[in-house]
Amino acid sequence: MKRYSAFAVARQALNHHMGWERAWASPEPKKKYDAIIIGAGGHGLATAYYLGKNHGLKNVAILEKGWLGGGNTGRNTTIIRSNYLQDASAALYEKSRSLYETLSQDLNYNIMFSPRGVIMLAQTQHEVRGYERTAHANALQGVKTEFISPARVKELCPIINLDGPRYPVLGGLWQARGGTARHDAVAWGFARACSDMGMDVIQQCEVTGIRAENGKVAGVTTNRGDIDCDKLGIVVAGHSGHLADMAGFRLPIESVSLQALVSEPIKPCMDVVVMANTVHGYMSQSDKGEMVIGGGTDGYNNYTQRGSFHHIEETVRALVETFPMVSRLKMLRQWGGIVDVTGDRSPILSKTPLDGCFINCGWGTGGFKATPGSGWGFAELMAKGYSPLTAEFGLDRFHEGRFIDESVAAGVAH
């Protein structure tokens, strides 16, 4: 792989940019791999990347039913933060946020991480207390957040309306090192680095069955033939239940559609991410100038990647009262992603009843921010059978009643 750099751009400029090589190869599947990852979204690719980089496991294939990063990786609102309440989640999300800081350099691929800061608005007394508690918890966990006044909120985000018609802004939980990144680039950067390590990223390869011998995983059946493996990682978000079925176990997960929308591009007007969980809307501005808006989840299981129509009205209503200027904007696109939600709103990174088969799922409405950290921990779990990052997130926690109950993750605001 030729490295990307300013010199490379200058060199390519001399020959009309005709010399750029493909960012990743499109190989045919081999007969057998040491490890197979199902799902080439951000989490799957990050897992493969850290399997190679941290654990020297490079005979790895990443199988993708559709195209690379075409699921929730390319559908989220790209917010990165780690202001969680429980210690286990704060550790995992903060690991992830800190990996994002140097990910562009690690991957030699610009993922456009922009630590512009995230404000979560407190608009009721309950929220004020809740976020003060989170700020205290974060201080103990070593995650830098603070509870700020309405005046400071206004200073950070001048377009906000502090005296909304329903809920005034009473303060906010501010994480200055949170922000956004370019979601597609995260998947592309990991895929390029994996391909460079000799791993096979195989797109349009749908897994139709999981083969087991004597209670141990033997391989997968795909639309491009049987492939054997020693270890199998299932990282398929909304379709986890479907894959778990093939592997012969059940998951405490339900899938719903979560939607988002973007406006027409406008001049820069907001350089922080604002989340308003009470009225339920959240917004940031992309580098192209579009306002990126997070919407609601459907109230019932579905796999539509579209979402219910009335949520658009609820989301836009929340935003218009929080940011009155939004009322003049046209919306360009609206879409949905299938999110896999667990009972305690925390992810599952776990061994499974099938020996050699591991599952990483249940990220629900907030997986993008966790991409590198999830890959880091899950790769360690797959390689060594244990990872301190993922230890609390096992499937057995539901049996034991040992939930990682995330109040900040309870809504869909991610």
Partner: protein, 109 residues
């Protein structure tokens, strides 16, 4: 927008008039049951890609519970029926068999 018909009051309305209440035909396990039974009752929900049977409440109408047979991919509603039953009635099964040959949902098919 999904359209449901409440079998209790007969009103047909769009989804905002109703509230989904989770998987239908649950067998409840409580004190005295095994850990696995209790775990499965609480957490191991059906999450099918296709036919799903689930409880709904006519929240902004008569307020009563009923059960809907629905497709989680196309959002087609195959029918609704009274909640006072332990399995889907024959006419719902017939509709499902006609529209989705080979369907199955938990122990029903």
């Amino acid at each position: 927008m999904m359209i449901l018909t409440c079998p209790c009051c007969g009103v047909t309305g769009e989804e905002t008039e109703f509230h989904q209440g989770g998987e239908a035909h649950l067998t409840r396990f409580g004190p005295g049951s095994s850990e696995t039974e209790f775990h499965d009752y609480l957490f191991s929900k059906e999450n099918p890609k296709g036919v799903h049977l689930e409880r709904w409440r006519h929240a902004y109408g008569c307020g009563k519970w009923f059960i809907a047979a629905r497709n989680t991919v196309t959002l087609e509603v195959y029918g609704t029926y009274a909640a006072q039953t332990t399995e889907p009635p024959q006419d719902i099964k017939d509709t499902l068999s006609a529209k989705v040959p080979g369907w199955s949902w938990r122990e029903f098919a």
